[in-house]
C-alpha cells in the first residue's frame, strides 16, 4: 500500500490556478454531500433535543444559569506575568506577517498558488482566525496589526502626550453601520469578486482598507473606530463571544481582560444591542449561509430560471455590458444582497411574534433591546455551520502554507526546505467529515437553544412569558439548523 498510495495521492497542482470558479476566496472543497439518512437523522435529533431542552426549561426556571460564571485568569500571578509579554510578541508577529503579506502581494509572483498573500488572507486569516476566535478566544483583538502600527506611528511622530487622534465626535446615528457596509463589501469580494485570487489586487484592497482604518482612527480615535466601524474587529469579536476565553487587550480606558467561561456564555450580555449591531450579526450569518447555498444545485437552477425571464436576462445583460462583471456575478451579487435582507426581515418577524407571546407588559419600553439581544443566541448555530463548512478547506488548502513558508514571494526560495511540498487531500476522510459536521451542527443548535432560554429568563419577568417567548425562537432555530444541514447534504456544483 505505501508505495502505490504515495504516488497516487491527489495533489492540488499549481497548474490548475486558472481553472474553475472558486466558491470561496480561494481553494476548493471536495466534500461529498451528506447522505440523505444522515441529514434526516441530524434534523430529527435537532427537533428531539429542542423538545427535551424545552421540557427541562419548563421544570426549572434557572436552568442554565451556571453558564453565567466565569473566572478571571489574570488574578493568577504566573499567568499575569506571562500574558503581557506574550501579547507583545504576538502583536509583533502580527505586524511582521501583515507587512510580509502586503510586500508579497505587491512584489511577489502573480500566480495565486505561489504567492503567500492568497493563502494567508483567505485561508489562514479569514478561515483560520475565525476558527481560533470561535473556539479559543478573540485573538484578533490582541494581534490586529492596524491599531498596533497606528499607535507605533503616532509614537514615532512624537505625539507622546497627544491622544493620537483629532478626537472628532463619532456620529451616534452612524452606529455600527460602517462596519455593516464594509463587511458586505468584504463578503462580496470573497464570494463574487473576479480578482479575489490575484495577489496584486488583494494587496491593493488590503492596503486601501488599512489606510481607511488609519484615517478613521485619526479622526475618531483607535477604540471608537475599532468598536463601530472596523468590520473585522467586529466580526472576530462576534465569534469570540462564543469562545471560552474572553480576550481583550488593554485600552487607555480599560485594563486587559482574560477570563475563562463555558462555551456560549459570552453571548449573554447586558450591553444593549443596537439595530446596527443586530444587523451586523445577521449579515454575518447570512453570508455564511449564502456561501454554502450558492454552490448548491438549487442556486444553479435559480440562476438558469432567472435567465429565462426576459426582463431579468435583459437587466443582467445591460448590467454586465456596462460594467466589468458578467451575468453570473451580477446574479450572485443580487442574491448576496437578498440573503441578509431576508434574514433581517425573518428575525424581525420572529422578534415581533416573540414579544407578543411574552406579553406586552413584559417588555414595555425595551422591546427593541429584548428582540435584538436574541440575535446572539443564533451565533452558536452559525459557528457550528461555519466550522463544518470550512474545516476541510482549512485542512487541505491550508497546507499550501507549508511550501509558502519557504518561498513566500514565489521567487524560488527554499528557506526551510519545504518548497514543493505537496498537498494531501486525503487528510479528512468523508466519514469523519460527515459525522463531525452533523455532530457540530446539532451541538451548536443545543447551545443556541440554551443561550436563548437563559437570555429570555433574564429579560422576561414571569416564567410563563419567558417560556412562551421561546417558541418562535425555537421555530427559527430549528429552521436555521435544518437549512444548514440541508446545504451540507447538497452536492457542490459551482
Amino acid at each position: 500500500m505505501p508505495r502505490g498510495l504515495a504516488r497516487a495521492v491527489p495533489i492540488l497542482a499549481i497548474a490548475c490556478a486558472a481553472a474553475g470558479a472558486h466558491a470561496h476566496g480561494f481553494g476548493q472543497r471536495f466534500d461529498l454531500p451528506l447522505p440523505l439518512w444522515l441529514w434526516l437523522t441530524g434534523a430529527g435529533a435537532t427537533i428531539v433535543l429542542t423538545f427535551a431542552a424545552l421540557a427541562l426549561f419548563a421544570r426549572q426556571r434557572d436552568f442554565g444559569t451556571a453558564f453565567l460564571r466565569s473566572i478571571d485568569l489574570l488574578q493568577f500571578s504566573p499567568l499575569r506575568r506571562v500574558a503581557h509579554p506574550l501579547a507583545v510578541v504576538l502583536r509583533i508577529i502580527g505586524c511582521v506577517l501583515f507587512v510580509l503579506t502586503l510586500v508579497a502581494g505587491f512584489f511577489g509572483n502573480p500566480d495565486a498558488y505561489a504567492n503567500l498573500i492568497v493563502t494567508m488572507v483567505w485561508v489562514l486569516w479569514w478561515v483560520g482566525m475565525a476558527f481560533f476566535c470561535a473556539l479559543v478566544g478573540d485573538l484578533w483583538d490582541v494581534v490586529n496589526p492596524l491599531p498596533t502600527l497606528y499607535r507605533a506611528a503616532v509614537r514615532v511622530i512624537g505625539a507622546r502626550e497627544a491622544p493620537g487622534s483629532l478626537g472628532l465626535a463619532y456620529p451616534v446615528r452612524l452606529g455600527a453601520w460602517p462596519a455593516v457596509a464594509l463587511f458586505f463589501a468584504f463578503a462580496w469580494a470573497e464570494l463574487v469578486w473576479q480578482e479575489k485570487d490575484v495577489p496584486r489586487a488583494i494587496a491593493t484592497v488590503l492596503l486601501a482598507y488599512a489606510v481607511l482604518s488609519w484615517g478613521g482612527m485619526l479622526l475618531f480615535g483607535v477604540e471608537v473606530w475599532r468598536n463601530q466601524a472596523d468590520a473585522f474587529a467586529m466580526a472576530f469579536r462576534v465569534l469570540g463571544r462564543f469562545a471560552p476565553l474572553e480576550l481583550r487587550s488593554s485600552t487607555p480606558a480599560e485594563p486587559a481582560r482574560l477570563r475563562l467561561r463555558p462555551y456560549g456564555a459570552g453571548l449573554l450580555t447586558n450591553e444593549p444591542v443596537s439595530n446596527s449591531v443586530a444587523a451586523f450579526v445577521l449579515l454575518m450569518l447570512a453570508t455564511v449561509t449564502f456561501d454554502g447555498f450558492h454552490e448548491t444545485p438549487l442556486m444553479d437552477r435559480i440562476g438558469t430560471t432567472a435567465q429565462t425571464s426576459r426582463r431579468v436576462a435583459e437587466t443582467l445583460f445591460a448590467l454586465s455590458s456596462a460594467t466589468g462583471m458578467d451575468e453570473t456575478q451580477w446574479l450572485n451579487t443580487a442574491v448576496l444582497l437578498l440573503f441578509p435582507l431576508a434574514f433581517v426581515l425573518i428575525f424581525r418577524g420572529v422578534g415581533a411574534w416573540m414579544l407578543r407571546l411574552a406579553g406586552r407588559a413584559a417588555s414595555e419600553g425595551h422591546a427593541d433591546a429584548d428582540r435584538n439581544a436574541m440575535v446572539w443566541s443564533l451565533v452558536p448555530i452559525a459557528v457550528a455551520y461555519h466550522l463544518a463548512h470550512y474545516v476541510s478547506l482549512l485542512l487541505t488548502t491550508g497546507q499550501f502554507i507549508i511550501p509558502l513558508a519557504s518561498d513566500p514571494f514565489g521567487w524560488g526560495w527554499n528557506l526551510f526546505g519545504t518548497r514543493g511540498h505537496a498537498v494531501d487531500l486525503g487528510i479528512v476522510s468523508p466519514a469523519v467529515y460527515w459525522y463531525g459536521a452533523v455532530a457540530l451542527i446539532v451541538i451548536g443548535h443545543v447551545l443556541a437553544v440554551i443561550v436563548a432560554h437563559v437570555e429570555a429568563t433574564r429579560r422576561f419577568a414571569s416564567h410563563r412569558s419567558a417560556l412562551l417567548s421561546q417558541l418562535p425562537m425555537l421555530v427559527l432555530m430549528v429552521a436555521y439548523t435544518s437549512l444548514s444541514l440541508w446545504i451540507m447534504a447538497q452536492p457542490i456544483v459551482s
Partner: protein, 118 residues
C-alpha cells in the same frame, strides 16, 4: 504427519482464496462512457465510484477540448472524432469536478463530477 500436512495445505489454499476474493472485491474496475455535446454532458453529469476503484472513462466530444479533473489533477485532451481515455485509481474520497481547461479565467461550470465514496 500426512494429516497435518494436508491440513496445512488446505489452510494455505483457503488463505490464498480469501486473498484473491478479497482483492477482487476491493479493487474493482469501473468503466464509463461519457458523451459531450457543445461542452455539456449528455445524460447524468455525476459518476459515482468507490474508493480504491480503478476508474476508466471514455470521453467523446463534438469539439476539441482539454478537460481537467480537479483534485486528482489529470488533464485529458479530447480530439474528435477519436474518444479520449481517462484512467486513474480513485484513492481519495470526495466529490471532484472536471472543468474545461481554458486560457482565460472566468466563471464556467464544471462539465462532469466524479464522486468517490468510501
Amino acid at each position: 504427519m500426512e494429516n497435518a500436512n494436508r491440513l496445512r495445505l488446505r489452510l494455505i489454499a483457503l488463505v490464498a482464496l480469501a486473498t484473491i476474493v478479497g482483492a477482487s472485491a476491493a479493487v474493482s474496475s469501473q468503466s464509463f462512457s461519457v458523451e459531450l455535446k457543445g461542452g455539456r454532458v449528455k445524460g447524468d453529469e455525476t459518476l459515482k465510484v468507490h474508493q480504491g476503484d480503478q476508474v476508466q472513462i471514455r470521453l467523446s466530444s463534438d469539439q476539441p477540448m482539454v478537460l481537467h479533473l480537479h483534485g486528482y489533477d489529470i488533464n485529458v485532451k479530447v480530439a474528435p472524432p477519436t474518444p479520449a481515455l481517462l484512467t486513474f485509481k480513485a484513492d481519495v474520497a470526495g466529490r471532484f469536478p472536471m472543468h474545461e481547461h481554458r486560457e482565460r479565467a472566468g466563471n464556467h461550470r464544471a462539465v462532469l463530477f466524479i464522486e468517490v465514496y468510501p
